[in-house]
């Protein structure tokens, strides 16, 4: 399968491990990621909080480039990029006046024909393949699936999964052989873009997410957004300092977990780039493997 690929700024920088693991699983699942040439910033936060037309025009330009490359569908792995691209696409489709102004800004023909997918949408389509190719090293690994605010919301933009009680990540995680836990904070805010400007709020919000996952018995949290990952991973040191230093909680990108499930080499999944070491997860996988070997010997 061929699909357009919009990495956005974070997958080239702070979330390189997301890009690495995504490339790895795409190869394993026979998906060809076709990066949009000359893509630009999606406009997340800065554009849409200052200038509405700019916040539509930036993603529109990227969608136009994708259209020129004959890409019918584009994957935006970052939840914020996904939201911006999908919102712009819908704004142009729904409002003729906006469509006209965007056309003028772009100065080139644009049909608005490109469909935008989140990673949850793409992998939900592929649960069958994931299950077939799954090597089951994650058996009984308990993970908390964290959607954050933008992966399935707002419902009128995403039109995918239940916005208040979603289950798509759980289904993907199950297909990859791990066990999702029932928990309460899957949709709560991590603090998002306030990471630098209001760190205390981010620490408070992310702490309650970590606590809830821990309480539900999760051994790792699975995320699908670089911002969520950075708040839960990078800020975990500050959070745990006040929490009487409990066991650190590894935060995995969805693509990393699927990669582990498919039995890919952990080195190819960028697992070494996290602040909180995912070693407990790898240890768990090794223990499962040893058990299986023991059983074979016996």
């Amino acid at each position: 399968m061929n699909i357009g690929y919009f990495p956005g700024c974070s997958l080239h920088a702070t979330a390189r491990e997301y890009a690495e693991s995504l490339t790895a699983i795409a190869a394993a699942l026979d998906i060809k990621l076709d990066e949009i040439k000359d893509w630009a910033c999606c406009g997340a936060t800065s554009a849409h909080s200052t200038n509405h037309m700019l916040s539509v025009a930036l993603p529109a330009r990227t969608l136009m480039l994708a259209e020129k490359q004959n890409l019918g569908r584009v994957l935006a792995p970052c939840a914020a990029c996904y939201n911006r691209l999908a919102s712009a696409r819908q704004a142009i489709a729904k409002d003729k006046e906006i469509a006209g102004r965007i056309q003028a800004i772009l100065g080139q023909s644009f049909e608005n024909s490109v469909q935008v997918l989140s990673i949850a949408q793409l992998l939900s389509e592929m649960t069958g393949e994931i299950r077939d190719k799954c090597k089951r090293p994650l058996r009984n690994l308990k993970v908390a699936c964290y959607y954050g605010c933008l992966l399935v919301r707002p419902p009128e933009i995403c039109q995918f999964d239940d916005p208040e009680s979603p289950s798509s990540l759980e289904n993907i995680v199950k297909a990859a052989g791990a066990t999702p836990v029932q928990w309460d904070m899957a949709l709560e805010c991590c603090g998002g873009g306030f990471s630098l400007s209001r760190t205390a709020s981010v620490v408070r919000l992310s702490r309650s997410i970590l606590q809830s996952a821990r309480k539900a018995g999760a051994q790792a949290i699975v995320v699908a957004c670089p911002m969520c990952h950075s708040n839960l991973d990078f800020r975990q040191g500050a959070i745990n300092m006040r929490d009487n230093a409990p066991e650190p909680m590894p935060i995995l990108f969805l693509s990393q977990l699927v990669g582990l499930g498919l039995g890919l080499d952990p080195a190819r999944l960028g697992l070494s780039r996290h602040f909180v070491s995912p070693q407990p997860v790898l240890n768990f996988i090794n223990a499962v493997k040893l058990q299986a070997e023991d059983r074979e010997h016996a």
Binding site: E164, D184, M185
Partner: protein, 672 residues
């Protein structure tokens, strides 16, 4: 040559101010065929009518045109006047010079010209009017009531007490409806069952009421005064004529763990069961999906797996081989009283527009319940014997949070209307809770308090002031489990602060929706319904209990969310309409209906396909030896509403609408 009289009314100043009525009368008087033309200040007044009557007799008129208000207003008046002077009433027509002319124009000159044109229009039309006579249809003076909740019970009793036979059809095994599930009722806190049960018994014992419980309407044919209704009597697996309701079968049924529908899943029942002890009729039914014997049969097991109920039955009433049977009843009127269901809060929804409330964890958090479940907990006959206990661990909750408007007034969740009863029953719940758990704290999240009704607002004030319920204005964004308690995250819009409350139990006041299957029933009855499935009344203000299908009436929450007093009032209103219909042996219908020309009809049946009322029937014409000549369309006089769709459709011009024939319309149109 016609002898037409024209009467132009000033309607005080209403027409006279903008239209020169004298000139209109004079101008129309010059038309060929018009032999008399006058204007008068108030044509509908007694002297005005006398003018018309005198003119008819003195000038021997054979048609009159009254240029006045809308025919909706006074056509009946003038036709009656014409009839009393010996003229066929359908030779009297009105030209609407008020709503269609004087009220909407300012220029006197132009308005007068238009009034003359409107008058000429009707004068030319009336030249082709034929005398018509009222149609009389025999009325079967028995009623069918669909639904045995409080609305259906009240309607059935009122009609029966009025001296007419009633057939009451209820789909469940007992009548009583939702009201039988309630603990106490607002605003007087009297026990629901105590006031309902006597009425249920009255239904069972009434000589004029035939109760068909565990039955459903299969099909409806016919028209007002003459409906044929086929009713499916679902197999109870118990012979109603033999069973004496002793209850031995229920006691001995080994399968006791089935969630009870009557207790909203909070209690259990057996596979052969009576839903509640006061059931009417007090005859059990076997739930074949749960009964071991029937499950065995379904799997093809040859051996009889169980038969305990039949063994212990002293009267051999249990009949495992009973099949659904059908009865056909002839009735003259139908009352729909199918009631409501609650919005299902969980994720799975039957309609696409309904979104559910994933954020409230209903179905996954056991102590999040809905209003009807709370009623069962508070009811003395409920699963806890009237003690308020949590479903999860049976502990007494010390803090209950009530959420109002769950589903209602929330277009994002698919329902924009107000369910009307929730504000009141939540106030009642807080009181019941306070009466039973003195140290318990009730917190209510509300959007607005809608307590319109006698004694209603006082009741809510009592909940706040005497039962100390804490009312917070705002919505709740999420319910989550936190160990033993439920974390309620909400927002208090009056203080502008987010609120987090740890509650022991949460009660959701969910929206009222029409019963499942209402659309199918509405289609059987040719009754329209809104996008939510509530049945449409004929007029929202002036004909609230009638439908657009003559002879079909509405009562209770099938039409819109209603509380008990409203449902009962509506049921009695419906009963009076039915009794009014039954007051005569023959029903009078206006003769303005479609007629098919037998000679030219080719039997294409385009008319049958377009008729919205199903009034077109097929008739076989035979010669004297019984050989078929052709099959043609025929219009059922009782069903036809005179809309004219068939007339417009007929390719061979074989359908005419009496009072609006092609000839009349062409003549009228040519006159302007």
């Amino acid at each position: 040559m016609s002898r037409i009289g024209v009467f132009i009314c000033h309607c005080g100043e209403n027409i006279g101010r903008t239209v020169d009525c004298a000139r209109v009368a004079q101008s129309l008087g010059d038309l060929p065929g018009v032999v008399h033309s006058v204007d008068y200040k108030y044509m509908c007044s007694d002297p005005g009518q006398v003018l018309i009557k005198q003119a008819i007799q003195e000038k021997n008129l054979d048609g009159i045109v009254v240029g006045a208000c809308s025919p909706h207003m006074h056509e009946k008046t003038f036709r009656k006047a014409a009839a009393s002077a010996g003229l066929n009433p359908f030779l009297c027509e009105m030209a609407n010079l008020r709503e269609h002319c004087s009220w909407i124009h300012e220029d006197r000159e132009l308005a007068t010209e238009k009034a003359i044109a409107l008058g000429r229009f009707i004068v030319e039309k009336i030249k082709y009017n034929r005398p018509l006579s009222t149609i009389y249809i025999p009325v079967e003076r028995r009623a069918l009531v669909i639904g045995g909740g409080i609305a259906g019970i009240q309607a059935a009793l009122d009609i029966a007490d009025g001296g007419r036979d009633v057939i009451l059809v209820e789909k469940e095994s007992s009548i009583g409806g939702h009201m039988s599930q309630l603990s106490e009722t607002f605003p007087t806190l009297d026990c629901s069952q105590c006031i309902l049960t006597p009425r249920m018994v009255e239904v069972a014992q009434h000589p004029r009421i035939k109760l068909l419980a565990y039955s459903e309407v299969e099909s409806v044919d016919g028209y007002i005064g003459n409906f044929q209704v086929k009713i499916r009597r679902k197999a109870r697996s118990v012979d109603e004529t033999k069973c004496n309701g002793c209850g031995e079968c229920q006691k001995n049924c080994p399968n006791k763990k089935i969630p009870s529908e009557f207790d909203q899943g909070l209690g259990t029942r057996t596979a052969i069961y009576v839903p509640f002890p006061q059931a009417v009729p007090n005859i059990p039914v076997i739930d074949r999906a749960s009964c071991a014997l029937f499950r065995g049969r379904a799997k093809g097991v040859k051996k009889v797996v169980c038969g305990k109920c039949a063994e212990v039955c002293g009267r051999n009433a249990v009949d495992f081989d009973q099949q659904d049977s059908f009865v056909t009843e002839k009735v003259g009127a139908i009352v729909v009283a199918t009631g409501y269901q609650l919005y299902s809060i969980g994720k799975s929804q039957e309609l696409d527009i309904l979104r559910g409330y994933g954020e409230y964890g209903y179905g996954t958090i056991p102590d999040v319940i809905d209003g009807l479940q709370f009623e069962r907990l508070a009811s003395a006959s409920g699963p806890t014997g009237g003690k308020i206990l949590r479903p999860s661990d049976g502990k007494e909750p010390k803090k209950i949070v009530f959420l109002q408007c769950i589903g209602s007034r929330d277009p994002a969740k698919g329902i924009e209307y107000c369910s009307k009863i929730c504000c009141m029953y939540v106030a009642k719940h807080t009181m019941l809770y306070h009466h039973k758990v003195h140290d318990g704290k009730a917190v209510v999240f509300y959007m607005d308090i809608r307590a319109g009704g006698k004694g209603y607002d006082e009741f809510v004030r009592r909940a706040i002031e005497e039962s100390h319920a804490l009312y917070l204005r705002g919505r709740v964004s999420r319910l989550s489990r936190d160990g033993d308690v439920i974390r309620v995250q909400g927002f208090d819009t009056l203080s502008g602060e987010p609120v987090v409350i740890n509650a022991d139990m949460v009660v959701l006041a969910t929206a009222m929706r029409p019963q499942p299957g209402i659309a199918a029933l509405a289609q059987k009855l040719s009754v329209s319904y809104d996008q939510h499935g509530f049945l449409n009344e004929a007029h929202p203000k002036l004909r609230p209990v009638e439908t657009n299908t003559a002879g079909v009436f509405l009562a209770g929450a099938c039409q819109s969310p209603r509380d008990i007093p409203d449902s009962v009032a509506m049921a009695s209103a419906t009963a009076s309409k039915v009794l009014g219909l039954f007051s005569k042996e023959l029903l009078e219908r206006e003769p303005l209906i479609a007629r098919v020309d037998r000679m030219t009809c080719t039997g294409c049946f385009h008319c049958e396909r377009v008729c919205p009322y199903g009034a077109v029937e097929r008739k076989t014409l035979t010669d004297s030896k019984g050989r078929i000549i052709k099959v043609i369309a025929e219009v059922n006089q009782g069903v036809c509403q005179g809309c004219g769709t068939c007339q417009a459709t007929c390719p061979s011009k074989s359908v005419e609408l009496d009072g609006f024939t092609d000839e009349q319309i062409y003549a009228a149109v040519n006159a302007i």
